[in-house]
């Protein structure tokens, strides 16, 4: 049973526009959520996280929104840049438990 789902395998966005990546989860015990960025043949790079006590966290061009009632989180990238082209994974964890990852969304930024 997939507890963390990224339903869009791919997303294509024009350079300079907003990229919105979505993630849904089913386990209401999850209290910590993270986004990672991954280039081919490299390890995931931590981008941004959010605790369940918040509904928004911002770091530069990256903002994560959490909607606990809908069990949904999203990552906004504004403005999108060519270097943002990568696979993005969302991950979630319940208190002291292990991370559960989604399948990833491949983001392509077009010039």
């Amino acid at each position: 049973d997939q507890q963390v789902k990224q339903n869009s395998p791919s997303l294509s966005v024009q350079e300079g526009r907003i990229s919105i990546l979505n993630c849904d989860y089913t386990n209401s015990m999850f209290d910590y959520f993270l986004w990672y960025k991954k280039y081919p043949a490299e390890g995931p790079t931590f981008l941004i996280s959010i605790s369940s006590i918040k509904d928004k966290n911002e770091d530069g061009r990256f903002t994560v929104f959490l909607n606990k009632s809908a069990k949904h989180l999203s990552l906004h990238i504004v403005p999108s840049q060519p270097g943002d082209s990568a696979v993005y994974f969302c991950a979630a964890a319940a208190y002291t438990q292990k991370l559960v990852f989604g399948q990833g969304t491949r983001l392509t930024i077009n010039p």
């Binding site: 209290d31 043949a41 390890g43 931590f46 994974f89 002291t96 292990k98 989604g102 990833g104």
Partner: protein
């Protein structure tokens, strides 16, 4: 952010060979993890360790084994490689805070191809 290293980055090996994938971190993190990831798929946890001499199997069954004799070192061994072991192996570490919400930091990965 953790400095975490993996060697080799790429490995092509024949069936039946014994291999060890190395993972080291320099941040003194007590928790370390091994994940397996195939293209287009999520990361699957295969082993983890919460400290020296402590290792546990993850959610995905794996024929590999791990050891944690030193805090900074968490090698993964396959006694007899098979083509089904072809995958990317990712090592990660995190600092235990005791209150959850621990961020894992990943190494660059080892891409293994077994012929």
């Amino acid at each position: 952010e953790a400095d975490i290293y993996q060697t080799p980055r790429y490995l092509v090996i024949g069936t039946g060979k014994k291999i060890t994938l190395e993972c080291s971190q320099t941040m003194g993190h007590d928790k370390m993890y091994w994940y397996q990831q195939d293209p287009g798929m999520e990361l699957h946890l295969i082993h983890y360790s919460y400290g020296v001499n402590s290792t546990e199997k993850g959610d995905l069954s794996s024929e590999s084994t791990v050891s944690r004799i030193r805090t900074e070192h968490f090698p993964l061994t396959l006694e007899s490689a098979r083509p089904s072991h072809t995958s990317q192996y990712l090592c990660a570490s995190s600092e235990s805070r005791g209150v959850g919400q621990e961020t894992q930091y990943f190494g660059p990965g080892t891409r293994l191809l077994v012929l």
